[in-house]
Symmetry: C2
Subunit: 221 residues, 2 copies
Amino acid sequence: MERYVDQELKELNKDILKMGALAEEAIYKSVEALKNQDKDMAKSVIDNDAGIDKLELTVDEKCIDLIARYQPMAKDLRFITTGMKLNSELERIADIAVDIAQRTLEIAGKPLLKPLVDIPKLAALAQSMVKMSIDAFVKGDILLAKKVLLSDSEADRLRNTIQKELIDDYMARDGSTAPRAVQLLLIARFLERICDHTTNIAEDVIYMVQAEVVRHHPEKL
Amino acid sequence: MERYVDQELKELNKDILKMGALAEEAIYKSVEALKNQDKDMAKSVIDNDAGIDKLELTVDEKCIDLIARYQPMAKDLRFITTGMKLNSELERIADIAVDIAQRTLEIAGKPLLKPLVDIPKLAALAQSMVKMSIDAFVKGDILLAKKVLLSDSEADRLRNTIQKELIDDYMARDGSTAPRAVQLLLIARFLERICDHTTNIAEDVIYMVQAEVVRHHPEKL
């Protein structure tokens, strides 16, 4: 028999998926705006952020309210507290998309440097890590969460390559590229920070699933 | 009469203060290391971070355990969930101190640019905002929390000034300064991100205190 609380936990799952979809969309649009020098799209990322902030607060309130009303034990409680953490990580990911959109507005109209070095590649990786980390939460899938953690070194590598190229091949050789190169360098770092947030989510998911395993099935350790 | 739970909430308060003190120390040491080009101190910031990560996990576990055992209502529950958020913010602040220490190792030994532009000023502001935000939590002091929020525009201003100076007066004029100038620019951004984390804490504190006021004293709104 389904408990009332199960229905509400399903709703929470849906809310997290919604936050995830909004965060993914924000990253996608901020990077498209950068690629196409599309100021309107960059502005729409910035404008949409207030709605994401509001949804974060609503989900956070719902979680606290769920705990207060159902006083859930072990597994459900950990699911809810992990949901609160994901909610906050996803809001921060959307904030970083705003940072990217703002940098994009800053460089729009100026000639691009070697069209964006490896930024599109890093952006694609960041988007896939966001998707995987949310899937891992929804399915309680430790293997998928571990895949996210393993992807992080590739994100670091890409960021470092981009950074080195921008410093050594552009700024150091021709100081006049510095204003644009710095913006791209920051965007590369923003994308890598998005990847870091997905590893936070992945770690929370592993912790959520394993703490349960430890509590109920110590023989499985 | 004091309830058992009060004793444990006091312990939680102490743990958060401990996390706060460790985060403050990490920032202080990372900036001292930068000022004095002290590689050993930078390394000690990096080495100490594992202990802070461990304390974060312990505090997080304690919070979930407190909720599970006491099933606290309204005010206590909100205090605990806010404590969980602060704990996470403080761990991230300590992580940023590690970022600063890593950049410091990168530039140690190379000649400093106009000794560090306004970075020491921004660092002092970041440290004071960390201190104020933790005080605001411990005392439930909304005015102090609002002071943290108001300080954020000064942090933004300082970061922008530092960034502009490094780009326009150094990198654009003399490309050979780029490798060092980029590290300082990143450090300025790290410090500003620390300030952002303190505003997250301040917002959580206001939310914690006001939600309680709203629930119990709607006439006070």
